[in-house]
């Protein structure tokens, strides 16, 4: 009895016609879901009451009484009643680009754009035609370009610096050591490189862990258990301070490379476990069918098992990717100032703006949110695409 009008309402929602109007069925179904039962009605009322308390004060703090000008005096006066968005105007360049030398910041900005374009292109190509060799070449090419752009190291082309590049730019093109890289480009670069490196390692770990060969099985299991038993922060700490002690003296890779290595090896263990779960959902009969048509071990895994396994665990893998993106904020521990780190840097460096940390955090929160939300939508899109196939 109850169902008939409901179906009608939802049909009208999906396919509103002029006769039904758009809002009438919408309102009807809203009322039904919000006040359908006494319990729902009470929940709705309580929720509305909380909202009426929160929204006005949020609006008055965040908008009505807020200070939008980069004016510390005005912010001081509005303290406690209004937000100080002027902070962002005053400090955005340190927050977004970290300790990168101010007059060279266009290089960090260009890097960010290059990375975003590369990631966007890869995501679309990866989802439509699959990851091909040409894409891998593009990655290597763009990453080398980014390295040159960010570091300013020209290697064998050093002679071009003063004769061609600087005159062309109309300003000096200086060398910027990696420990001065920071802010948003560092966050994106680290996440991208670590994700791209960790995924294949994770696939091998997962294959080893599900393999029937005891040696690989035990090695992979041990690795995964050890890494999962250690917090990322200590991995980073060790990568940064202990690793150089183990290497022959005088040879110590750049701190950025050590950090990339640390995050990659850490993330690989987690992704491996997710992939293993996926591999276990692929029935043994699929492997039997694959080997019965003459496919060897690697072809069987690559062509038959992994595509089916990964399809199942895409949400889990994307979860890990999002985690990696946010976990890059931990590299402050080894004095690299990515987005979160450079916010702290920007705040602590200037006593005038120190009281408005909250506004700064809200700002980078929104930056993180944009990226994480995009990643999560991308994952849903891929899932949807695969379901249709």
């Amino acid at each position: 009895m109850d169902k008939a009008p409901n179906i009608q309402a939802s049909k009208a929602l999906v396919n509103p016609t002029l006769a039904d109007g758009f809002f009438a069925p919408l309102v009807k179904s809203l009322i039904k879901s919000l006040f359908g039962s006494p319990f729902n009605a009470v929940c709705t009322l309580v929720f509305l009451w909380i909202l009426t308390l929160l929204i006005p004060s949020l609006v008055s703090w965040g908008y009505t009484n807020a200070v939008f000008a980069a004016d510390p005096q005005a912010c001081q006066e509005a303290r406690g009643v209004g937000a100080c968005w002027g902070l962002i105007r005053a400090k955005y360049s340190v927050i977004l680009w970290g300790r990168y030398p101010f007059e060279q910041q266009w290089r960090a900005q260009l890097t960010t754009v290059l990375l975003l374009v590369l990631i966007f292109r890869s995501s679309i190509i990866g989802a439509t035609t699959g990851i091909r060799k040409s894409l891998a070449f593009e990655w290597v090419g763009v990453l080398i370009l980014i390295f040159i752009l960010m570091s300013g190291q020209l290697g064998p082309l050093e002679f071009l610096r003063s004769s061609v590049i600087s005159p062309f730019l109309g300003k000096p093109f200086t060398v910027v050591p990696t420990d001065l890289w920071g802010g948003l480009p560092l966050t994106i670069l680290l996440s991208f490189v670590c994700i791209v490196l960790a995924t294949p390692i994770a696939l091998f770990l997962a294959l080893a862990r599900t393999s029937e060969m005891p040696l690989f099985n035990v090695l992979s299991k041990t690795y995964i258990e050890v890494v999962r038993g250690v917090p990322l922060i200590s991995v980073l700490f060790m990568a940064s301070y202990m690793f150089p002690l183990l290497l022959p003296s005088g040879y110590s890779p750049d701190v950025l490379i050590r950090v990339i290595l640390g995050i990659t090896l850490f993330a690989a263990a987690y992704i491996a476990e997710i992939v293993r779960a996926g591999i276990q959902t692929v029935p043994k009969s699929q492997t039997e069918a694959a080997v019965s048509i003459g496919l060897g071990y690697w072809h069987t895994q690559y062509l038959v098992v992994l595509p089916q396994a990964i399809k199942v665990v895409i949400p889990g893998i994307m979860n890990s990717f999002i985690s990696i993106f946010k976990d890059t904020s931990l590299i402050t521990i080894v004095s690299l100032y990515e987005l979160t780190g450079s916010l702290t840097l920007a705040m602590n460096g200037d006593a005038l703006w120190l009281p408005y940390k909250l506004e700064g955090y809200l700002f980078i929160t929104s930056v993180y949110f944009v990226f994480c939300f995009a990643m999560s939508r991308y994952s849903l899109w891929i899932e949807h695409k695969l379901k249709r196939a």
Binding site: Q286, E288, S292, I293, G294, G296, H299, L303, Q308, A389
Partner: protein
């Protein structure tokens, strides 16, 4: 009498699953072009027997030679034998993430390294042979059981095998689809394919097989031409089994 060396030779083959003795002293020679139907109650070891032929199951005692090669643990030998031995499973085991055509071209492209065009042509020929060419771009889940099994047969045939193994190919099918699969198998038999077929389809055995083998508790109890086998079975266990299935 065929004087050629047999294409499959079981010599006192024994197999255990832990303490369970699955195959007991199996001796069996299969000549080129011979069509053999293996029947018996469930758990009699008939599936294990044919799964040994392409190395899906290891055996622990005796010797097994396929196409003149001793089947060992060596991955290359096993892979080479699998390449010449096609197999059709009870549950079809098509690859759900690939289209029908991709299911068929996978091994030619990746194992034989033929060009995609050649593989495609070969696949279409096989699909026409099993009368399903119009479904080439569909995915396995979009096909009926009978159609899926015919695709599975075509997939095995794409590698131009010398021997075909069928492991209860019609047991998972709705009754009205059994006929279309048996028809394809009968045509294959008439073309001279060497076939080892585990099945309960006694009509197929009577009309197609050169030899029917009855297994029970891991042993080959009786083997004979279909005519003799069905009209005058020698052993009591065979008689009891036939009473149940006929």
């Amino acid at each position: 009498m065929n004087t050629q060396a047999p294409v499959i030779e079981f010599e006192l083959v024994n197999k255990w699953y832990k303490n369970y003795h699955v195959l007991r002293d199996v001796n069996l020679n299969v000549q080129k072009g011979e069509r053999i139907v293996i029947c018996g109650p469930s758990g009699s070891g008939k599936s294990s027997l044919i799964r040994c032929v392409n190395g899906l199951e290891p055996y622990q005692g005796g010797h097994l030679r396929v196409l003149g090669r001793e089947l060992t643990d060596d991955a290359r030998t096993v892979q080479a034998i699998r390449h010449s031995v096609g197999m059709v499973f009870q549950q079809f085991n098509l690859f759900p993430h690939l289209s029908v055509l991709e299911n068929l071209t996978l091994a030619p492209i990746w194992v034989e390294k033929v060009s995609p065009e050649v593989a495609r042509e070969r696949a279409m020929t096989q699909l026409e042979r099993v009368r399903i060419a119009e479904q080439a771009n569909k995915y396995p889940q979009q096909l009926s059981g009978g159609q899926q099994q015919r695709v599975a047969i075509a997939r095995a045939l794409c590698l131009k095998p010398q021997i075909m193994l069928f492991d209860e190919p019609t047991s998972a099918l709705d009754p009205e689809m059994v006929g279309e699969v048996l028809r394809v198998m009968t045509e294959l038999a008439k073309e001279g394919m060497t076939m080892l077929c585990v099945t309960h389809e006694m009509g197929f055995a009577q009309s197609v097989a050169d030899r029917v083998i009855f297994m029970d508790k891991g042993e080959i109890i009786e083997q004979n031409t279909p005519k003799e086998f069905f009209t005058s079975p020698q052993m009591q266990r065979t008689q009891e089994f036939l009473k149940q299935v006929l």
